[in-house]
Amino acid sequence: MAKFIFKRLLSAIPILLGVSLIIFILLNVVPGDPITLMFKEHIYPEVIERLRREMHLDDPAYIRYFRFIWDALHGNFGISYKLNRPVTYLLLNAFPRTLVLALSAAVFSWIVGIPAGILSAVKQYSIEDYFFMGFALCGVSMPVFWSGLLFQYIFALKLGWLPVAGYAGVKYYIMPAIVLGWSSAGTIARLTRSSLLEVMQNDYIRTARAKGLRELPVIFRHALKNSILPVVTIMAIQVASLLSGSIITESVFGIPGIGRIAVGAIQSRDMPLLQGSVIFATFLVIIGNIIADVAYAFIDPRIRYD
């Protein structure tokens, strides 16, 4: 097991390198320069020139890239051009908030998705099926900023139950978690449903039924156990999509997490910060994948890795 994890971590390195190379190339091709952006309306051409020289922004590309990789290997991701603080500091500060958001969103997606999938599989093609699947799928069918806005309007403005934006406590996370989690719920529901359907057709379920056992306990004890597997595997992909979705959710609900940092970094051509955030996010996805694989093997003893 440990060897397996180690091998996977090792294979993460070329992926991370590849990701950082793509970012570097793209950000260099994109027009616009971070220094000029720092000045906004009050441009002083000579000052801009001087700063560019001092920050080595006119060095050839490969030199800049290798310097970055060299520093990164020593744990130094540089200082954000725009936010003036070390990239690692910014990421470590922003990460817990995104983590809380993503975890609560994931939990919500399970709460909505799994029962929806179960009900839908058990009562296939009935009104309940459509209704619950529909509910779960609504999340996947609405742009997150739109549903976020509606939530803010209804629950914050009109009903006053929850605050509009911010992150100063548990109640600030409720709406963003629901909005973000809902968008994953559909996938979870689908997966639960299809794997449950598949399993329900298996012989041993029929046997259990033939033995005269009641339907629900049969489903719970036998079918569910085996349906959890796909859900666990989807956890890895969920991490990636939740990170992606958090970009917009954090914007709408004013949560200063990784998503906000990454978007800001792109907009201000802030290479150090962008490299840091994307590499960090990619690393999280890879870790998510590894955890999913490990959990997979843990739950199903039949699966073992060399």
Binding site: V30, S141, P143
Partner: protein, 310 residues
């Protein structure tokens, strides 16, 4: 477990088959049976049928938009700014006095295009790369899969944003950006199917006879992937539509004055409190179209499920 029937039916012209005429007859019978079976099972799933109807309905609207829309979607009329839904403008007007209903109708075109084109392109890329990767294995597989890994590990919205910044914000570039971001998952699926199929006897047999690699991929492997791909295609369309909406929110989607639903929502949200109809109705439309594709796709998967197992 391959369903031999289905396999044969789609390989009517397979060079292996020497008894063309005989097979054709019985194959056609079988093909009719399969189609009937599929349609009947599908009909059981009422909401999928409703979804299909909506899709066709919206497609028709998209095609006949200029004839259906009451007004020119770009016509500015400042005196009618922000009118509530009324007899003249059934869904009201926006900040420039443009009729929202007409913009929604024309927006159907854009949403359909955004849904279909990038998904289609990414499918093609994904299929080709997946086939190559699964069939040839070795170095080709390694390289293609590493690239796919990298693309998949990237948060897709960020990648799309950076691409849009590089290319500039326009509808064409959205197609490109969304295609680039979405091919990797498809290629993975095709690859794994290719891998399992590769080991099948009839493939070995074809190779032994001397059928060219390309023919094997195109005529034997690819058709077996079709059911899965159909479902994937249908289910990927809503994702593309939503991605465009998100890109518009971030400012790098369609540009004004294009009547894209995503753009209408993100521009209209600042008036949510005083003129909610500007962003609510396009939002409802997006909800409907994506739900329709989702239900239809799920129904399709239910129905084609027996044919997708390996």
């Amino acid at each position: 477990m391959i369903d031999g029937r289905y396999n044969k039916i789609l390989n009517v012209n397979s060079e292996i088959n020497k008894n063309n005429i005989e097979l054709k007859e019985s194959d056609e019978l079988r093909r009719d049976n399969v189609l009937k079976e599929v349609t009947n099972t599908f009909k059981k799933n009422k909401i999928a049928v409703i979804g299909l109807f909506f899709i066709i309905f919206l497609l028709l609207i998209a095609i006949f938009a200029p004839y259906i829309a009451p007004y020119d979607p770009y016509a500015v009329n400042l005196d009618l700014q922000f009118s509530k839904p009324n007899i003249r403008n059934w869904v009201g007007t926006d900040v420039f006095g443009r009729d929202i209903l007409s913009r929604i109708i024309f927006g159907t075109r854009i949403s359909m295009l955004i849904g279909l084109i990038p998904t289609f392109i990414s499918m093609i890329i994904g299929i080709i790369l997946g086939l190559l990767s699964g069939y040839y294995g070795g170095k080709t597989d390694f390289i293609i899969m590493r690239i796919a890994d990298i693309v998949l590990a990237f948060p897709s919205l960020l990648l799309a944003m950076v691409i849009m910044y590089t290319l500039g914000a326009s509808l064409l570039n959205i197609f490109i950006a969304l295609s680039i971001v979405r091919w990797a998952g498809i290629s993975r699926v095709v690859r794994s199917q290719t891998l399992s199929l590769k080991k099948m006897e009839f493939i070995e047999a074809s190779k032994a006879i001397g059928v060219k690699n390309w023919n094997i991929m195109w005529r034997h492997i690819f058709p077996n992937c079709i059911p899965n791909l159909l479902v994937l295609f249908t289910l990927n369309i809503p994702g593309a539509i939503l991605s465009e909406a998100s890109l518009s929110f971030l400012g790098v989607g369609a540009q004004p004055p294009t009547p894209s639903w995503g753009l209408m929502i993100s521009r209209g949200k600042e008036f949510l409190l005083s003129a909610p109809w500007v962003s609510i109705f396009p939002g409802v439309l997006i909800l409907i179209i994506t739900l329709a594709f989702n239900f239809f796709g799920d129904g399709l998967r239910d129905v084609l499920d027996p044919y997708m197992k390996y």
